[in-house]
Subunit: 159 residues, 6 copies
Amino acid sequence: MSGGKLSHFDAEGQAHMVDVSTKPQTPRIATAEGHVRMSPDTLAHVTAGTAKKGDVLGIARIAGIQGAKKTADLIPLCHPLPVTKVALNLTPDDTLPGVRITATVKTTGQTGVEMEALTAVSTAALTVYDMLKAVQKDMEIGGIRVTLKDGGKSGRFEA
Amino acid sequence: MSGGKLSHFDAEGQAHMVDVSTKPQTPRIATAEGHVRMSPDTLAHVTAGTAKKGDVLGIARIAGIQGAKKTADLIPLCHPLPVTKVALNLTPDDTLPGVRITATVKTTGQTGVEMEALTAVSTAALTVYDMLKAVQKDMEIGGIRVTLKDGGKSGRFEA
Amino acid sequence: MSGGKLSHFDAEGQAHMVDVSTKPQTPRIATAEGHVRMSPDTLAHVTAGTAKKGDVLGIARIAGIQGAKKTADLIPLCHPLPVTKVALNLTPDDTLPGVRITATVKTTGQTGVEMEALTAVSTAALTVYDMLKAVQKDMEIGGIRVTLKDGGKSGRFEA
Amino acid sequence: MSGGKLSHFDAEGQAHMVDVSTKPQTPRIATAEGHVRMSPDTLAHVTAGTAKKGDVLGIARIAGIQGAKKTADLIPLCHPLPVTKVALNLTPDDTLPGVRITATVKTTGQTGVEMEALTAVSTAALTVYDMLKAVQKDMEIGGIRVTLKDGGKSGRFEA
Amino acid sequence: MSGGKLSHFDAEGQAHMVDVSTKPQTPRIATAEGHVRMSPDTLAHVTAGTAKKGDVLGIARIAGIQGAKKTADLIPLCHPLPVTKVALNLTPDDTLPGVRITATVKTTGQTGVEMEALTAVSTAALTVYDMLKAVQKDMEIGGIRVTLKDGGKSGRFEA
Amino acid sequence: MSGGKLSHFDAEGQAHMVDVSTKPQTPRIATAEGHVRMSPDTLAHVTAGTAKKGDVLGIARIAGIQGAKKTADLIPLCHPLPVTKVALNLTPDDTLPGVRITATVKTTGQTGVEMEALTAVSTAALTVYDMLKAVQKDMEIGGIRVTLKDGGKSGRFEA
């Protein structure tokens, strides 16, 4: 086990919301990505819908934006943060096949927004599943990870 | 594209919350699974924590249970459902390496609970990520899928 | 002042959530309507958006559905109800000029869903305003009323 | 269609929460108004209640204040904002007849609070309807509009 | 340690939301009580307010009703329940001195509502504190307990 | 009645969320305490659980942290605040007998966090009750009070 430390626990191993009150307010950004894998048939419903009617991706995008705002309510030790930007991109990908999702979140605050970006992606992915489950039940949500985090003391992380 | 129909859209392609008011109230169950992949070093923090202090898995389990109760708030077209059971299992797995998560949700209602099970797994996975991100940023959440759904008109689904 | 009685207050005038525990569970439906009045120029943004991109009405429809689910959280003395259907219709109307909104909500429960229908319309109207306020600030939301309520002891109301 | 631009959509017409991270934090204020129209008989219940018991307006005022705090949860693309003041005024008006509602909201932030003021008025109006619906079902909520917005880059708006 | 069993933990000591899906839906009632102790001077503000203006108790009553509806959101392992009645009583008591609070909650469901009654009392007590803290900071909230629980398999409890 | 003033009411006695927009942003801290009194037998379940399995105190700690984040949603006239630290301590006490709870909350803002500290303690206490109610129904929650408040214009309060 490396020398790293789980900051969410104190010396006695009790969980707490980490004290960030002495950290400076700096501009923060994070991006995350993920996907919903499905059959080509199911994906055809998505692409048909986007073009004409039954806008699966548009609804999932809204759900992802709202999900980002609920992060501190969902993740017990997350700090509440006034996010200043949330944008999601949902793209059909025939080679997956399925839908690729990316999210970008910004704030000016005392702690990072990677959890907000991950929650946006997760909520959008769940919504894609929900809207398509009538035609396919064995879709799979995966590949959810942080691709960029910048703006705090710990420096830039890019994957 | 198969003959299946996206029930969340009406004939004009407008999204709606499907009318389930004439469906009978029946016992429903769903299970879902997923995982958080991490380095062996990070996983060592989890297993140390479970045994002694800094209970990552216990906190993620609580977050998952609460997440299941927020499903209709997160997923735009989900029906609100009074869930009657939520249980999560989080297990360290050296071969992943990482944490495997399963969730079981029950209700007696007019529609299924697979979205509640998936939301429980997703929220628990995000919480695992949050609690370990101080030691590793490139963990990945994946393999989120429904493994069982039973109790409604559409019959038993098992994967 | 008519002989009617404000059921939300007890004999001492203290507010309470009315006891509905002895009322039978019956199918309930309510519809409500409302509108957002705007300039023809602003409305042109809506109709352009619906046809091609920037889907104001689609996003407001989702907001209205989610708003219906938050009714008991917003209105202090409302009973929480598991709604079984929520549908909204948003239509550009050149004669207003503006957007007309209708909502239909169903449940099987011990009390009516007219507040859910009104809340759906109000939330959709606020969302329309939000999405168009960059081009016009003096839009007006109005005409919000119940058009149908049926299914309980008090009989059918239609307006 | 005027040259105005719907800021909630990007160049591809996809909805996003607008990036306000580079805007300065400035003091902001907005006021909004609206009304609930009802019969003189119903209004008599309100005025009787205010004077003696069954405080319809007091409860609607509280609901409006809480509604203002829920704005970013209700309106998909609204930024979460730490409001620094919310005040509502609810006045019986025999000439309407009905109840007139005004709301004032302040913040120090990167974006305006007109949606918070409109949401406060709407929530208060819905609560007035809820508390009086036992005696009148065909009340109407209307006249909801922004009357003042000041403090940001776009300058003062007054109606 | 008695032979009793903590039903919120499974055989491995892992927390779960207890499975109540096979329990019958029966009418349930619970009452709880509590108080806020304060100086006679502070209490005079309350009694003055109730009689004339600044209605501390009326606002705390509304907060308590809304708190009851948030119980499953606040208490991790609580089942969501559609409460069918919530009533609070707040009474100034010179002998305390302070405010006495009681709450009554009903549902027809598969599990009891004592947590809803306790949450109603707690939320009302916190609201009383909030509204009076400008004049006294060392008030104390106490005596919060269940006084009646009836309607389930475990029989009637009265204290 | 002292000369103090209930700041949550205006000159007409109408409740409002106090205007703090001209107050400076300063570092704030508050601590609160409380307890859950129970039989020695019930307390034995807690201490057994902490040591080995069935972690009552760990779950209550998480509930308290999340409760602190919900303060402005629960208490009608509280300002929403981005808390920067929340920590709870739950200690079995044989002399009570029962569980003693303390909470510490920090923010950098325009108003104090004593309501957040009190809400954290209350929510943790309710969760302790919930998890133990299967073995004892007549537990009592009490002694909830502010023990420290510092950082604002009104100066340091310590009890």
